[in-house]
């Protein structure tokens, strides 16, 4: 009872301390987002998603596209991987071992849990198959279970890599497998103490020699002390053969999804930035990950903007910090990234899709949608475009929260929704002729998607 009273009081105060409601937000997209002065009221501004069922509704997609739920009932569906034969692997689970350290942690934990799924952590990989290519995934098998909050997935050659919250694992994979042929081999342990940000994102270099593992910080802004931040807020480059690792980029607060750019082999990441210094700080970002770069956390953000909360300060590290490439907006919680293909139609032919889980630290929510960042010449060019919306109503009723996004090279966007625990599949309403070429089981080819001869 007492706790309820405290929560009610906090919620009321939080609402009162919100940003002025009708002020337009500053422009936060692209290479040069507007960064207001940092501000923190007596309580952090909060607006927690209110979960409601989808019923007969479904997410909103652009004209000329349709979306269907291809599977539901997962134990927290977070990331997906489209295999060469079109099968989809779904990583299910929820991790983190943090214990409340301060009075605040108890209260904040209760409040934030209201906006998430209460499904039990599945700790498994589920495989979905559409054998006849009609868009209905009629076969569903458990590919592997007894995992520990699996998240990042990557397939290179005959090896399927899975990033659990505490280890990088490898399964042998043959085309057509519906379950793993044996237990996994551990490639390397991953930093797992506390695991405040537990999601271990994953990408493989095109030649399969290296794996890139995103490891989030163990706090918002060092409030658990610097000792627990050893080996955190960085991307590891792991040698696939030996399991040896080295830091590839550091100071990158929470790199929640990684992707390799087709053609160039460049590693890209979406990164969640820090909270509790205002509704418009700090923008989450999309960036090409530069080898050896330091991205500022915890001492500064977006280049050289000092965050005085991290003490003792480190002017040398601040001077070293580089600016990321592209702002996605503050608190949107970008958790998925995938490069597109011309098979998804000319509007989305060149660029990345970003899944935005949605904010808590804003009175006017941000995120709760999938956006498309158009590219030109291999770089982001232009404003993000809303692609899949309708996850949240203006009154806060929330039916879904997008996490992982994956592009099926045959012309489909796969979206994992960890609130309704549904896998959504968006396709062009009319199949784009060029995308019909690959048949089931054939390896996807980049060359048979000419940009001409599409219905749009």
């Amino acid at each position: 009872m007492k706790r309820l009273v405290v929560i009610a009081a906090l919620a009321a105060l939080a609402a009162g301390c919100g940003q002025r409601g009708n002020q337009p937000d500053p422009m936060q997209y692209g290479p040069d987002p507007q960064l207001p002065a940092s501000h923190r009221g007596l309580l952090p501004t909060m607006k927690i998603a209110h979960p409601v069922p989808w019923g007969n509704r479904r997410p909103t997609v652009p004209p000329g596209y349709t979306i269907t739920a291809i599977a539901t009932g997962f134990g927290i569906a977070r990331q997906t991987l489209v295999l060469p034969n079109g099968d989809i692997l779904v990583a299910e689970g929820h991790g983190g071992n943090e214990k409340p350290l301060r009075p605040k942690d108890f209260i904040a934990g209760v409040i934030k849990a209201k906006g998430t799924s209460h499904a039990k952590s599945g700790n498994r990989l589920t495989l979905l198959r559409d054998a006849d290519g009609d868009g209905a995934y009629e076969t569903r098998t458990v590919f592997a279970d007894k995992l520990n909050a699996p998240y990042g997935l990557a397939l290179v050659g005959g090896q399927l890599y899975v990033a659990d919250q505490d280890a990088l694992l490898r399964f042998p994979y043959r085309p057509g497998d519906t379950r793993a042929s044996g237990p996994p081999v551990k490639v390397t342990d991953l930093p797992a103490r506390i695991n405040h940000h537990w999601t271990k994102s994953l990408a493989a270099s095109p030649d399969g020699r290296f794996l890139y593992v995103g490891i989030g910080s163990n706090s918002n802004i060092t409030e658990r002390g610097m000792d627990v931040e050893i080996d955190r807020a960085r991307i590891w480059q792991v040698d696939a053969a030996t399991g040896a690792h080295r830091p590839f980029a550091t100071g990158i607060r929470n790199p929640t999804a990684l992707a390799i750019q087709p053609g160039t082999g460049q590693l890209w990441a979406v990164v969640n930035e820090r909270d509790e210094i205002g509704p418009n700080l700090v923008p989450d970002y999309l960036t090409a990950v530069r080898e050896g770069a330091f991205y500022g956390w915890p001492w500064s953000y977006w280049g050289h903007n000092v965050d005085r909360r991290a003490q003792p300060q480190d002017p040398h590290k601040v001077a070293e910090a580089i600016r990321p490439d592209y702002g996605l907006g503050s608190h949107v919680a970008a958790l998925g990234v995938a490069f597109s293909t011309p098979a998804l139609g000319p509007r989305f032919a060149d660029g990345v899709f970003v899944g935005e889980h949605g904010s808590w630290n804003r009175s006017r929510p941000s995120g709760y949608k999938v956006v498309f960042v158009p590219f030109r010449g291999g770089r982001p060019a232009g404003m993000p475009v809303d692609v899949v919306t309708g996850f949240q109503d203006p009154n806060g009723d929330t039916r879904g929260r997008p996490v992982g996004v994956t592009v099926d090279p045959r012309g489909a966007l796969i979206i994992a929704d960890d609130l309704s625990n549904t896998i959504w599949r968006m396709v062009p309403a009319q199949r784009i002729p060029a995308a019909q070429a690959p048949t089931r089981g054939a390896p996807p080819s980049k060359d048979n998607h000419p940009k001409t001869a599409t219905p749009y």
């Binding site: 923190r40 009075p103 605040k104 909360r309």
Partner: protein
């Protein structure tokens, strides 16, 4: 003249109320000392101690406030009234101090230390007022 023995207090503070009231002082003092330690060492653990000590102080302050409110039913002036008003002030300031301690890392500084010092002084004064009526011959 007065028939009451001058060595007997005019009224006594309930022992439970006394424990709660007096307990606020070491807890708020501990909070302030932990804040000072965090402020000088930047060692996060001190701020966790401060947060919990002040949370504990708030529990004591809350129940002491309730006790003071009950005492007001009998006497609505003098020391009991002053004790109640000071405890109310300590409660409000302590709540603000708790919220400031919920800020992440250095965002709580220096506000946390300043507030902890003020609330400690108020808690000492409230305790003083609460026990003042115990002095021999004191009138409520």
């Amino acid at each position: 003249m007065a028939t009451r023995d001058p060595r007997t207090p005019a009224r006594t503070i309930h022992p439970l109320h006394a424990v709660l009231l007096a307990g606020t002082v070491p807890l708020f003092l501990g909070g302030l000392l932990a804040d000072l330690a965090y402020g000088s060492t930047m060692e996060m653990q001190w701020s966790n101690f401060a947060g919990w000590l002040i949370a504990g102080a708030m529990v004591f302050t809350g129940f002491a406030l309730l006790g003071a409110l009950i005492a007001l039913i009998r006497v609505r002036r003098g020391w009991p009234l002053l004790c109640f008003v000071l405890l109310l002030a300590a409660f409000v300031l302590g709540l603000i101090d708790s919220f400031v301690h919920a800020r992440d890392a250095w965002a709580m500084m220096p506000d946390a230390t300043i507030l902890s010092a003020i609330v400690l002084v108020v808690a000492i004064l409230a305790t003083w007022a609460g026990f003042a009526s115990l002095r021999a011959g004191a009138t409520p």
